[in-house]
């Protein structure tokens, strides 16, 4: 193990300072003093973040520091966990997503999500893409939408001859791109990706990363990843999250933002010693 003293002990609350690092004129998603609890144990503390439009923002950090929890705040998937509690504000296009006038169901169409393990529906490839659009009342030509979504997900050529086969018959990488196509079909503004490549082999990972780069022209992408090379390769901005040692205990781990800046800067000249320790592999 490292000889570095436990980071953060001297400066216990570094969270709020991260706001100063990046200021954006037109953020898609913005959090202000976001705190999340599971039951009585805090999971996220003082998260202040501005996610830029049409960029890829990576969220890195050690296991259990709340990266996925943060991601799931943005499309209110945490609502589904009964014990979740939240304070602070999350703005999406300037609107409070937890406000009484925001409907979680319609929010989730605008903020799509791709999961850690490819999870196509046990239906045909065509139906996998068409379903989301149909239940959201899509009025246009469904065949066209399916084709364009699959094309955008760089999957069309591989599946165009077998649209009526089960989505589960595809390989892992193809399944994940099918899940991306499914998300694109409901025309979201933001795509949240929760370690989308962790179950994929390197070649499939590459194809998904290329795809992300392609998609950022039209979408804002927030990707949680364990893979620092991936964050470095694929993202424009990087959030480095860490465990808050002052509150974290054995079973209650609390995440804070250690640093948030451009990927370039974060990986070459990190300003926080804990970020440096994490990205060089000394902690986490």
């Amino acid at each position: 193990m490292s000889t570095v003293p436990p980071p953060g002990r001297e400066t216990p609350s570094r969270g709020p300072s991260s706001r100063e690092t990046v200021s954006l004129s037109d953020p898609v998603i913005e959090t202000r003093d976001l705190n999340v609890w599971y039951g009585s144990s805090p999971a996220l503390k003082q998260i202040n973040l501005s996610v830029p439009r049409n960029k890829i923002t990576a969220v890195i950090g050690p296991s259990g520091c709340g990266k996925s929890t943060l991601l799931r705040c943005f499309n209110r998937m945490n609502d589904l966990v009964a014990t979740t509690r939240m304070t602070g504000v999350i703005l999406f296009d300037g609107e409070n997503i937890n406000g009484p006038e925001t409907d979680a169901v319609s929010l989730r169409r605008r903020v799509g999500m791709v999961f850690q393990r490819p999870n196509p529906f046990p239906k045909t490839i065509y139906e996998n893409v068409a379903w989301g659009a149909r239940i959201n009342g899509y009025q246009g030509d469904m065949d066209e939408l399916v084709e364009s979504s699959l094309r955008r997900a760089a999957l069309w050529d591989e599946v165009k001859s077998k649209l009526n086969q089960s989505g589960l018959s595809l390989s892992g990488g193809q399944q994940q791109r099918l899940c991306i196509a499914r998300t694109l079909a409901v025309q979201p503004e933001v795509i949240l990706m929760d370690e989308p490549c962790s179950a994929l082999d390197p070649i499939s990972t590459r194809s998904v990363e290329d795809l992300m780069d392609e998609l950022k022209r039209d979408y804002t992408i927030i990707i949680v990843t364990h893979n620092m090379q991936q964050a470095r390769r694929a993202s424009d901005m990087t959030v480095c999250m860490l465990l808050d040692d002052s509150v974290s205990q054995e079973n209650h781990r609390t995440g804070v933002i250690a640093e948030y800046s451009s990927t370039e800067k974060l990986f070459t000249t990190p300003s926080d010693p804990r970020t440096e320790a994490y990205i060089t592999g000394r902690i986490g």
């Binding site: 999961f115 529906f121 046990p122 989301g132 018959s169």
Partner: protein, 315 residues
């Protein structure tokens, strides 16, 4: 100083005990099968055996003859003697019951299961309801019969609510009887659907209802069907609760609507089996065969539906 341990492997005993255990398991498996075959064999030979005093049945030459025999047994109304009688009343009554129980119990059972699995948050309320349902599944069927008599036949003494000894009463009573089993089986099936489907659907902007309708229920269908068929088979085969909610022990004509009196197949079998005349007992055995045919066809339908719906789940 470390103590020195020796091993006593008992290899000989273990070598004997292992196979012994396997044999015990095999015996346990076959005891059920053997009893079932003896039962079926005796029913078949009683029902179809060519014996003096049972001239009505003769051992059929082939499957076609057997079919003809069962068909005439199923369609004839009671005649003067065992030779000219049939189970038309019982078959028609039982089919009415089957249809109505399906109509009542399936939507209610599925609805309850979906509510308990997809909507209720875990907590005391769910625990109480859940325990109640589990207990109801174990209540003796005759108790449901008494409940049905009070609730449906007599309408708690309020004339306007009393349904009398009609098929309505029988079907409602049997619905109550099978509901807990349907709910529990459907709950298990719904619980076995991977959470990832629900998350994927909700993340696309689906409502809970759309998620349940298009993903959870279709994926749970095979399990739900198994529970349904078992429950409906039970409803068809039950005799005890029906004894309480039917008045006639035999009818000359089958019921023409759900408001009519009825005598379901198991009750007719029971009635014939009580008579000392061997011809009547033969008739009872024939009735059992009809009931088995009915149950086996229901199971076949369930298997077909299960295989159809499982198609896309495989690669």
């Amino acid at each position: 100083m470390q103590e020195l341990h020796t091993y006593t492997p008992h290899s000989r005993i273990r070598r004997i005990l292992g196979p012994l255990f396997a044999i015990a398991c095999v015996l346990a498996t076959f005891s059920g099968v053997v009893v079932l075959s003896i039962l079926l064999g005796s029913v078949l030979s009683t029902g179809l055996g060519h014996q003096a005093g049972r001239p009505w049945y003769h051992l059929p030459q082939n499957a076609w003859d057997l079919g003809q025999l069962l068909l005439s047994l199923a369609t004839k109304t009671p005649g003067e003697s065992a030779q000219t009688t049939g189970f038309r009343v019982g078959v028609v009554s039982s089919l009415w019951l089957l249809g109505l129980v399906t109509l009542f119990a399936v939507p209610v059972g599925l609805g309850a299961a979906v509510y308990l699995e997809e909507y209720v948050r875990p907590g005391r309320f769910k625990a109480v309801v859940q325990t109640n349902i589990a207990n109801l599944a174990g209540v003796p069927s005759i108790v449901y019969g008494i409940l049905g008599l009070t609730l449906f036949v007599r309408g708690f003494g309020f004339k306007p609510f009393a349904l009398g000894y009609s098929i309505w009463s029988g079907a409602l009573t049997l619905s109550l009887l099978v509901l807990p089993v349907i709910i529990i089986a459907a709950q298990e099936a719904i619980r076995a659907v991977p959470t990832t489907y629900r998350q994927a659907a909700l993340a696309l902007g689906a409502t809970r209802w759309q998620t349940v309708r298009d993903h959870v229920l279709p994926a749970a269908l095979p399990g739900i069907m198994t529970g349904l068929i078992l429950s409906l088979s039970r409803a068809i085969g039950e005799t005890a609760p029906v004894l309480m909610v039917t008045q006639a022990s035999s009818l000359l004509n089958p019921p023409r609507g759900p408001g009519d009196q009825y005598v379901p197949l198991p009750l007719e079998i029971y009635n014939y089996a009580k008579y000392p005349d061997p011809a009547d007992q033969t008739l009872a055995a024939g009735g059992i065969l009809l009931l088995l045919v009915l149950l086996i066809s229901m199971n076949a339908v369930a298997i077909v539906i299960r295989n159809r719906s499982g198609r896309l789940n495989r690669n």
